[in-house]
């Protein structure tokens, strides 16, 4: 019974089953986006919940990230007399990587947790079953609008994070590191390419999908009362955070590999 090979095999099989079930779950939710009825009111509510109410958190983290980045890269580059590259490093790092990743991790904490808790509570109190008996498909009502809202809200948030992150760098660059304001902004704009921003926004949409999918999936499959909902919430945040970082690597490979 305690054969280690069998244990590994079992773990792999159950992982495969889980991934397969998750993929089917995602496909079913997406298929509901194409078939009426559509829940526009719910979609808007989730959009506001994600895009608008995440703004303070995302803005603060983005500004501080830009500030730290300017400070650190200045220290580093000063050793090679290459302080001029600070603006370039800040804008590149922010738009390509840190904007999307940091904004998404913050949203994963907020939204992944809240979706998992909300849907999980509905599961353990029979509200999801109640939806079915009230002529409403729970996947269409609960999951589809959330996924769409996540995919659309994250690029917006990341755009904000990009702008504020660069502003953070500019703030430190001009007040502490002795750069001229116009010179810093010019260096930023000269170096920036459309692809940097676009790739970041595409990543953001993918991360938005991952966050909302994991939140809904964990909540939808939670069982066992309050404790189960708590576990689902934790899993949603941890899993989406890891997936965001893994997916970030894969997407970076795809966009920028030579």
């Amino acid at each position: 019974m305690l054969n280690p090979v069998a244990a590994v095999g079992r773990a792999v099989l159950s992982a495969c089953r889980e991934v397969g079930a998750l993929a089917l779950f995602a496909l079913e939710a997406l298929s509901h986006l194409l078939r009426p009825p559509f829940y526009g009111r719910l979609f808007l509510r989730h959009l506001v919940e994600i895009a608008y109410f995440s703004l303070p958190v995302v803005a603060l983290t983005a500004i501080f990230t830009g500030m730290v980045l300017a400070l650190q890269s200045y220290t580093g580059f000063a050793r090679f007399n290459a302080e001029g590259a600070v603006a370039n490093v800040v804008v590149l790092s922010i738009t390509r990587e840190l904007g999307p990743v940091i904004a998404s991790l913050m949203v994963a904490g907020r939204i992944g947790a809240s979706f998992a808790a909300e849907i999980g509570t509905m599961r353990v109190t029979d509200q999801i079953d109640a939806l079915t008996t009230l002529s409403t498909n729970p996947m269409k009502y609960l999951v589809a609008p959330r996924l769409l809202a996540g995919v659309l809200a994250l690029p917006f948030l990341v755009l904000v994070a990009d702008i504020l992150g660069v502003m953070g760098g500019w703030l430190i660059g001009t007040t502490k590191l002795g750069f001229g304001s116009t010179g810093y902004l010019k260096a930023t704009m000269d170096f920036l390419e459309v692809m940097d921003v676009v790739s970041g926004l595409v990543k953001a949409a993918a991360f938005g999908f991952v966050i909302t999918l994991m939140g809904c999936w964990c909540g939808y499959n939670s069982k066992g009362g309050a404790q189960g909902v708590g576990a689902a919430t934790t899993t949603a945040v941890v899993a989406s955070s890891i997936l965001i970082l893994a997916l970030d690597y894969i997407l970076t490979e795809m966009f920028f590999a030579q």
Binding site: P37, T125, D126, Q127
Partner: protein, 258 residues
């Protein structure tokens, strides 16, 4: 429809969760337009039986016919059309706590687009009046209601779309005896008015005699007795009589320790 076709017919219904066999060949006929009461100890699988009929749980074996049609063979659309005609009061209410009471009550009518949102408030007030609640309750959130009020709102939600089959899962559990009698009265009332077939689960013998024409006893995964609800307490079946009288000694042994 012919009188000899039962509204609901279960044959050999079986369901296990993992190792645990909950239903082990349930056979039951439920007459159209009558009240059926299902009795049984806690955890004997009463809720699971109802959830199988509603299509919320897939049984491992057996057949379920409603109006002579095999519901397990139905496709999704047919199943949804059937569910449109069924109402359900869940054991713990399962009210949507994100929506005000009036939207809960009219949820099914709104989902089926049989009513506009504007008209729904008035409709909700009308249905709430039928269960003895003031129209002002419509604007409260379910969390602000007492247990008895939640049951009544759940009842209002179950009957609002005028179903022809209604399931009541422990409608009076957790209520004081007077409120229990009130709820029973409401159930008898609405069932008579709608001409619906009512299936109720209860532990409460007084309640069973009030809301049931027929009764059935579920024990160890099977229906061990069916008969007239009025006869409960002196049916001649030792199991049923012990249960109905709430006696400690008898053929039913509580599995307190294992």
């Amino acid at each position: 429809m012919k009188d000899d076709v039962p509204k609901i017919r279960l044959r050999g219904l079986s369901k296990a969760f993992g190792e645990k066999r909950v239903l082990d060949g349930v056979d039951l006929d439920i007459r159209a337009g009558h009240g059926m009461v299902i009795l049984g100890g806690s955890g004997s699988g009463k809720s699971v039986t109802i959830k199988c009929v509603l299509g919320l749980i897939a049984p491992d074996a057996g057949t379920i016919e409603i109006d002579g049609r095999d519901v397990l063979a139905m496709n999704r659309r047919e199943r949804e059309e059937l569910n449109d005609r069924i109402g359900m009061l869940f054991q713990n209410g399962a009210l949507f706590d994100s929506l005000p009471v009036w939207e809960n009550v009219c949820f099914k009518l709104l989902a089926q687009k049989r009513i506009t949102r504007r008209a729904a408030r008035d409709k909700a007030a009308e249905v709430l009046a039928q269960v003895g609640l003031a129209a002002s309750v419509g604007d409260l959130s379910p969390a602000e209601l007492s247990g008895g009020m939640q049951k009544r709102v759940g009842l209002a939600r179950a009957i609002a779309a005028q179903p022809d089959i209604i399931f009541f899962d422990e409608p009076t559990t957790g209520l004081d005896p007077i409120m229990g009698a009130v709820i029973d009265g409401l159930i008898v009332d609405v069932v008579k008015r709608l001409g619906a077939t009512a299936v109720s689960i209860t532990h409460d013998m007084a309640s069973a005699r009030r809301i049931g024409d027929d009764a059935a006893m579920l024990h160890k995964g099977r229906i061990v007795w069916t008969g007239a609800a009025a006869a409960l307490g002196n049916t001649g079946n030792a199991l049923v009589d012990q249960f109905a009288r709430g006696e400690r000694e008898g053929p039913i042994q509580m599995e307190l320790r294992r």
